[in-house]
Subunit: 137 residues, 6 copies
Amino acid sequence: MLEANLDDQTGEALGYVMQLLLDAGALDVYFTPIQMKKNRPATKLSVLAPSTARERFTQLILRHTSTIGVRYQTWQRTIMQRHFETVTTKYGAVQVKVATYGDIVKRTPEYADCARLAQQKNKPLMMIYQAVLQQLD
Amino acid sequence: MLEANLDDQTGEALGYVMQLLLDAGALDVYFTPIQMKKNRPATKLSVLAPSTARERFTQLILRHTSTIGVRYQTWQRTIMQRHFETVTTKYGAVQVKVATYGDIVKRTPEYADCARLAQQKNKPLMMIYQAVLQQLD
Amino acid sequence: MLEANLDDQTGEALGYVMQLLLDAGALDVYFTPIQMKKNRPATKLSVLAPSTARERFTQLILRHTSTIGVRYQTWQRTIMQRHFETVTTKYGAVQVKVATYGDIVKRTPEYADCARLAQQKNKPLMMIYQAVLQQLD
Amino acid sequence: MLEANLDDQTGEALGYVMQLLLDAGALDVYFTPIQMKKNRPATKLSVLAPSTARERFTQLILRHTSTIGVRYQTWQRTIMQRHFETVTTKYGAVQVKVATYGDIVKRTPEYADCARLAQQKNKPLMMIYQAVLQQLD
Amino acid sequence: MLEANLDDQTGEALGYVMQLLLDAGALDVYFTPIQMKKNRPATKLSVLAPSTARERFTQLILRHTSTIGVRYQTWQRTIMQRHFETVTTKYGAVQVKVATYGDIVKRTPEYADCARLAQQKNKPLMMIYQAVLQQLD
Amino acid sequence: MLEANLDDQTGEALGYVMQLLLDAGALDVYFTPIQMKKNRPATKLSVLAPSTARERFTQLILRHTSTIGVRYQTWQRTIMQRHFETVTTKYGAVQVKVATYGDIVKRTPEYADCARLAQQKNKPLMMIYQAVLQQLD
């Protein structure tokens, strides 16, 4: 995990940087609103990336944001195993992510598929989700 | 109440603007973290000022921030009546704000007085507050 | 809608006040994190209540919080019509809220029923939700 | 301004709704993190739209989000007059928005133009901004 | 400390999970508002638990939330020593937590006792606190 | 990095503590809005300080805030090398921070200098920044 506190960069530029870091292969990028000295509303940038890519992401952050420093630290992760199944609804086919860990099993309709169908069929996103869930047992 | 959403200004500049608006006589100025389009973390600036000063504060906001628009609206306020009493503690004298509304009475030690004593006596701020509260009955 | 900015009250006391206002019949109570002058992290308290109850809620806020002023303003609301249906799942019966507005119809499992079943059956809340959604057509 | 508090919708679905409302012509859409009863982290959806489009946006919000109610209120706005100028930098041409109000004049490089050049030339966004600002006098 | 970023779970379900994790013996559970990709407002779940209970809390989080991964890391803690004293006020008895570390001593009225008295006596919570503080020397 | 979650301290007192910790030599101090159990809006205090000063900052936090515990952890940092250059604008001289790391070079006008000139010349802060940027090549 790499982090930087940014109080001298605009939100406009930060939105640009989020996309740039995702395109560069970050596992996750997120912003947290923080409050810094001298009454400054600011944003904490957090980037999850493999340790082996740390120097590369450090350089991207230093190059594309206003910060002059990046702090980092290693976190461990427990990740469920995943595979995909296809579910067919009256609106069309949707991939469902099946995640397992020991006896825990979770099925989640893929957002991108549901959003695509919602737009094609001009239906609320929730209606598509619900249709997928009804096909799961 | 005047408001503007700011996604193209730095936190550094916003801290500067807060002080500038307070110095110009705003009743209150506060920031709310918001999230705007295109993944932009942003800040909503809110300024409480008398209606009669609205044009003056609109100009200050347009001149000193990056926004090109200010929205505004009138709110009513119910304010408690206030007077001050002096309370003497072993650390020194502190003003206490006494606020009343119908049968409601609240006494609040003045922050600035407590902070000053805390620094002079090198004591935690809470210890000064507590000493003042013990003098109230 | 009544609002107050609070920078001189603890979170502990604010949690207490939220419950107190809900018990007193507020339609909704919510907190927004804000940033006030002098580097103070603060909380905006918002209370939705009928206009006819405004004075009563003003007094509750003045009595139970540290603020010395409450601001207020009237908002209009468009509310969907609602009725309840009962859906029976393999885990038990759950009320479903049916909300309609023109041709818009939404069905939402009641949180409290799902939470109760989740605890009784020792199942994840999401599994109960999903079971209810599968019964809707 | 239309608003709804959402505690029974996922962030994934809310990101979808933001884009949908912008595509439908909203002047602005933003999210504010709030805290609702029963320990629920929630999101306030705010939509700025002309009064004449209020019913249309109310229906969009009711149809595409989980809320069963929308509240609304009219705000006035003071907007600076705007026109565009083209500035040529060593990286390429960029539109600059010129906003005026009385004697206040502000020039802001267009984000989209700068972002496009940043990607084409593989330069930091800030470097493009800076190059544009240097051409202004 | 265990953490997970949640953009595909409702606030309603998160409130449920907070209580479930506290009931399961977590030392602390808190939410932080964050902003994830694709314009998604999201919530970071943080759970403080002893290292020895890590696997158990990982399973609870994976089972009861929508996340497919949990990250974790060890933090050290410095904790003040604590004991309780009873203080008697005109409203009734209240436990006071006395925390010490080297020469630092802090006395804090127990929230639960004050809240109970506030309700029994129909007095503002702050008035009870103040009555307790006045008994401390 | 030292952290503490605070739900029993006012924003007023937290603003005081931020300044106190900065005056004591903290590298950075910031607040994050969080949500704790029992519907409490709260604030996470984060303090960046050298490991060698950890015990000193732990004591300051325990003494001056309401927390009874501080958690801490070591982060690594990558910091750009910095030196200062003076730039002369039509409004006066401003220090510019030049930060370098490998082939990355960033120039940032010093906030304090710009703010001072903005007040002396009664000009918007952004106009001063822009004037400085135009002198850079």
